[in-house]
């Protein structure tokens, strides 16, 4: 089996609610969120002995901002899925006895500083030697994902309407989230009549641009016994990295094929055990390929899988119940919010409201895709359970 099953628990979470907030800095969002996540757990600043954020040396500025001298840091940056990786790294560090209480933080003012993410350009005045094989051709972010969607439609006959249904259901979930940026219901026709950003991707298939941030607190089993709320355990973790494969890439298969296989093997569970799914939704194609590669359906059958009501909160596999990056928030690296929502659903924080996944959800998958489909990307899978 191997892996990190129940070696650490998520004790507290927080999502910074403001989607457009010119009054805060990115460091401030991280400090405020860390404090709230510690309060959520019933822990104190002095309990923190580890700090993680995908910022390279910038993490030391955050540590300084928060007045922390952590025993352990991790600054690994693999794009939007960095936070899945950090929870796995935090769990490994705790299992090795290197730390007991690790805070993972994120803060971004992408919207108030007017940085386009999903639909923006990718233009560098002077690309480096590697970038020179993409950037001079105007390969914008959405364009790279659009090439994968196009190939998927070509190989498997996947229909635009099937992709659009992902946007429709995600928007329905955003309607249940008062903090979501876009909450009005949309139809498949609305998606397909929205303007083309990069054919075959339409505007309403692309993640939005917001401010945001948050924090997650990962603790040792001993500390987990003293926290305020129900601990949510790390059951399994897996990583998968995909690149151009030296010019021989199967572009419709993502790193999730590798990360998912590892995570399920480590946790010793199957897809039937999953009650709730948080699947990184930078674009509709990101979701559809991830569901296939994680093994929820066979490769090429994702189109039929996402049809109908299956992914709705009252469906068989409730997915992206916070409204996702397509409708709720996307400040650039959304992976942390997948963990926050998974934890809240498993703790049944929304009990008594329409937003709570019905039944008694025990296991959630939080799967991140960082970097770019159609280029280099990092797939990180976390399986969480109560």
């Amino acid at each position: 089996m191997g892996g990190l099953t129940r070696k650490a628990a998520i004790a507290g979470v927080y999502e910074y609610p403001n989607r457009n907030d010119p009054t805060v800095s990115e460091n401030a969002i991280q400090a405020l969120s860390a404090k709230k996540a510690l309060e959520d757990a019933g822990l104190d600043i002095k309990d923190v002995d580890g700090l993680m954020s995908p910022m390279g040396m910038g993490l030391l500025q955050v540590a300084e901002y928060m007045g922390l001298n952590p025993d352990l840091v991790d600054t690994t940056q693999v794009g939007g899925s960095s936070y899945q990786l950090h929870v796995a790294r935090a769990t490994a560090a705790i299992a090795a006895g290197q730390a007991n209480c690790i805070v993972i933080t994120y803060g971004s003012i992408a919207r108030s500083s007017a940085r386009a993410i999903g639909t923006g350009g990718r233009n560098m005045a002077k690309p480096n030697a590697i970038e020179s094989f993409e950037v001079p051709y105007g390969g914008i972010l959405a364009g790279m994902y659009a090439m994968v969607k196009n190939r998927h439609m070509y190989e498997f006959g996947t229909k635009d309407e099937q992709f659009a249904n992902i946007s429709v259901i995600t928007r329905r979930h955003a309607g249940l989230n008062p903090e979501a940026m876009f909450r009005d219901p949309i139809t498949i026709d609305d998606v397909l009549s929205s303007r083309v950003i990069a054919h075959p991707l339409h505007l309403l298939e692309c993640c939005i641009v917001s401010d945001g941030g948050g924090a997650v607190v990962v603790v040792s089993p001993e500390l987990a016994r003293s926290i305020k709320k129900k601990p949510v355990w790390v059951l399994g973790e897996g990583e998968g990295y995909a690149h151009l494969a030296n010019g021989k890439r199967d572009w419709v298969t993502t790193g999730a094929a590798q990360s998912g296989k590892t995570a399920f093997a480590h946790a010793g569970i199957t897809h039937k055990d999953i009650d709730h799914a948080m699947i990184y939704d930078s674009f509709t194609i990101t979701v559809l390929t991830a569901l296939e590669d994680l093994g929820f359906c066979k490769k090429g059958e994702g189109g039929a899988f996402v049809e109908g009501n299956r992914l709705a909160i009252d469906g068989d596999l409730p997915m992206n119940t916070d409204g996702g990056g397509l409708s709720s928030n996307h400040p650039g690296m959304r992976g942390l919010f997948l963990i926050v929502e998974a934890v809240k659903q498993l703790r049944q924080d929304y009990k008594g409201t329409e937003r709570q996944v019905p039944g008694d959800p025990k296991i959630s998958i939080a799967h991140g895709t960082g970097g770019m489909l159609g280029s280099r990307h990092a797939s990180e899978t976390l399986l969480l359970g109560v």
């Binding site: 090439m147 303007r195 010019g247």
Partner: protein
């Protein structure tokens, strides 16, 4: 076209990719191939990604190929591309080397009507005296 009129990013190179861009300057598409294990690969590098030996030749290929996949960029906020939208980006699988090359497909009336599998051939856009960019057009 002079350099000052060219607003788009201009390629740069290092010791891994210089031989490729040298070929482009002469309007030849040269794809790296390992002399030890026979592997062709792209983007260029001076060490083989399969056997990790530094014995790589850049071999001229005919420049023909097929579109593996493409997208039509319909919105680009940079003014460098304002007159280009909508334009096609694509992975082209080039003949002989059978590797995917990321590029543009140009000289098409309607890029939305391109097809995956469509035959294309390389052309070169001379950016300045030093740099020519390999692009593709319908064969």
């Amino acid at each position: 076209m002079t350099n000052s009129e060219y607003l788009k990013p201009i390629p740069t190179w290092d010791t891994d990719s210089k031989a490729f861009w040298d070929g482009c300057k002469e309007h030849e598409l040269r794809i790296p191939k390992c002399n030890d294990c026979g592997e062709s690969f792209f983007p260029p590098q001076s060490v083989c990604p399969k056997c990790w030996q530094r014995n790589v030749s850049f071999e001229k290929v005919p420049g023909t190929g097929k579109i593996y996949t493409f997208a039509v960029v319909n919105q680009n906020k940079s003014k460098a591309w304002a007159e280009d939208v909508p334009y096609a980006i694509a992975y082209v699988t080039v003949d002989v080397a059978e590797v995917q090359v990321f590029s543009n497909v140009v000289n098409v009336d309607d890029p939305f009507k391109l097809k995956i599998g469509q035959k294309v051939k390389v052309a070169f856009r001379d950016i300045n005296d030093e740099v020519s960019l390999p692009i593709f057009e319908p064969a």
